[in-house]
Symmetry: C2
Subunit: 205 residues, 2 copies
């Protein structure tokens, strides 16, 4: 963590961005994303409408900003879990993801925003967030292959993609269905186990 000295100007800029961001989040939580207008946000943040666009080129960028902050946290958490000294372990892999899902359970509204931007960024290979996730996924899956938890004859990137889609969809469905269709963390655990063990039946060569 490098501490960079900021000039007064830069400090003020950050502060304004934060003020706009906080105002936006409060309104989004209270009334929803679509229902909140940019004028309401800027009024609450006590700046002119145009100022908003100096900090966030589009309304959606506020969500992306939120999402990035949160994903960085999660990333650090997962990276610490897997790049630490403790030997890699398959069950810990699942439990780490299950654990991250706690967040989504906290605030469904917020979670919806974050998930939707995450799901968009998943497709965009230019997106730095996406790249970091791919890298993290490839590393973790590689480790799992090394210890024999995952089969070694499958492309780690493919396994990462499969698990990512499973994870994202399980959360997305849970978030968009009212009332919640299942106990989220339990369901993630079950589905992960299911694809790890395989869908194959007895009559299948």
């Amino acid at each position: 963590m490098t501490v960079i000295e900021l000039t007064r100007r830069e400090r003020k800029k950050e502060e304004t961005k934060e003020r706009i961001f906080n105002a936006a989040m409060k309104l989004f939580k209270a009334r929803g994303f679509e229902e909140t207008t940019i004028e309401e946000i800027t009024e609450k943040a006590d700046v002119a409408k145009g100022t908003f666009f100096n900090y966030f080129p589009r309304k959606e960028e506020v969500l992306r900003y939120l999402s990035e902050q949160w994903l960085e946290e999660v990333e650090d958490k997962l990276a610490a879990e897997f790049k630490g000294d403790a030997p890699p372990n398959g069950d810990r892999l699942i439990e780490a993801f299950v654990d991250v899902a706690r967040f989504y359970e906290q605030d469904r509204n917020l979670a919806r925003f974050i998930l939707s931007t995450w799901m968009e960024s998943i497709y965009d290979e230019e997106d730095p967030t996406c790249q970091r996730w791919q890298a993290l996924g490839a590393f973790v899956v590689g480790e799992m292959q090394r210890i024999g938890y995952f089969r070694a004859d499958a492309d780690p990137a493919r396994i990462t993609n499969v698990l990512q889609s499973l994870y994202a969809f399980t959360i997305a469905k849970w978030l968009h269905t009212e009332p919640a269709p299942y106990e989220l963390r339990q369901e993630i655990r079950t589905r992960f186990r299911l694809v790890i063990e395989g869908l194959k039946g007895r009559g299948n060569s």
Copy 2:
């Protein structure tokens, strides 16, 4: 297929809707969804702007309409494949889905529209399209369990969800990445096989 007699009024109504729809599709294909304005559509369809909203309450509803038409076709195709006389067969299951993916390869623009509405409807359990897919999925998976291709100790709805997320994501990523990141049908086949066989490695109990 029941043929319903339509009054002149109803015929005219259908015709107008079709005219608007066709105009919209031509413009969407040529210039993209966002870039096409409703006024352009109505001009091309030779109706007033307001008329558009008598037929499609939102701009996106045009896509939903397209999507519904197409999904019905696919549904019929898949249903015929699995409710026919031929004995159910696991490889045929995979190949049927692979085959459907051909469509997405035809027109990437159109496919993007259809997939995005499909992915939204996946979450919405009220949506009739979603319900029909769930039903079809449950039936097919049930058959596969009966013949021992899929393990019988897993909830068919869960297996359906897992496969659906895998399928949708694989296509989505393929559609949103330029140039295409993989040969679509081959990738679907590989991923399906992967989750059917399981991700488990040798060192895994």
